[in-house]
Symmetry: C2
Amino acid sequence: MGRNKEFDTTVVLRKAMEVFGHYGYEGTSLQILLDGLGIARQSLYDTYGTKKDLFISAVKHYTNEKSAAVLTRLDRPGSVKAAIADIFREIAAALKDEVRRKECFIMHSAIDQVPHVPEIAAFFEQDASRLEEGFYRALVRANEQGELSDRHSDLRALARYLNHSRYSLTQAAKLTSEPKVLDDIVKVTLSALDS
Amino acid sequence: MGRNKEFDTTVVLRKAMEVFGHYGYEGTSLQILLDGLGIARQSLYDTYGTKKDLFISAVKHYTNEKSAAVLTRLDRPGSVKAAIADIFREIAAALKDEVRRKECFIMHSAIDQVPHVPEIAAFFEQDASRLEEGFYRALVRANEQGELSDRHSDLRALARYLNHSRYSLTQAAKLTSEPKVLDDIVKVTLSALDS
DNA sequence: TCTTTTTCGGACCATTTAGTCAAGAATAAA
DNA sequence: TTTATTCTTGACTAAATGGTCCGAAAAAGA
């Protein structure tokens, strides 16, 4: 009974990522937001709550999606170095794609709000530790599989580095439109795993 | 003849970096800005122009200062690897210092505005190319001095990577309050230069 | 058909926004 | 003292802000 929702809430969430990613949280006026989402003002408040609520939902949805993909790839049996290379090349591919890159920039807006929105700060802290642990587990396995040389003594540092590099690629993408630059950065980043 | 300015304009510019760095450009209301600068409203408009003018001035001042220091260090004779290590450790030191770190975050706010303020976009494009060239020159010299192994074939990629890593450290600092994490990231970043 | 839910659009609100103007006090050099 | 510049304060504006309320149309199941 009753009318069904006309829009797919996850599709709208995707659009929210794009809008917030482009204008930033504070830079996104309600008008811009509504135009970008393509829904009516009341529908926004009914479905997602306030502007801030929607922002938090979008950030969490985006981050969870990406993190899950990374962790899955890291835990898959086989070469760890190949897995990590896959992960970074996938990020670079997304950032080079005219369409897909747009929603990635919500990361930048989200990091912007870390000092002002405790819920986002706590969320990222938790996410970072999950990811760091994931990278660390993978690196330990890589070591057991003989993929690393003895110059990689500090696997904890390496794990932190890799997780941070993942985030930082979107920043690089915001600064350059040259795809080659992203490829170069990824290439050198991955070389940290070489012997 | 006439009264002198009571405030040092570069000191105020520094405070502007802190305020804009903390709240972001859009997140900084005029009231917050004036409170942070400690000057009267009219003084702001008389001395710096609009809010946007001040923001651009602060961004340029900060960037020029940092870039000049980096380029100077890179061009100094002696070990290039030591120079690069110095540069990154200095950044980490600044980001770990409770006071100095504050103004660094204007970089994040500035990158935020790249898609919306053409003047900032053009400025960063120029700055990035200057810095990339500086790193590249240094790496060529390092190669001539026998500091690099033959696994470092693509010095252009390495230069881009180093310049990007410089920027990305402030992002990492915004996400973590743990100093050890920054040290770890720097350590692994520099290991890209090892043989 | 009746009921329930959603969508949509416009009106509306109090608050905040960036920026301007004016006037008097302070300060410094001529 | 005179003159020029800056500082400070407060009032003011027009526009934009996020958010709420209302009513009618649309759609889906009972």
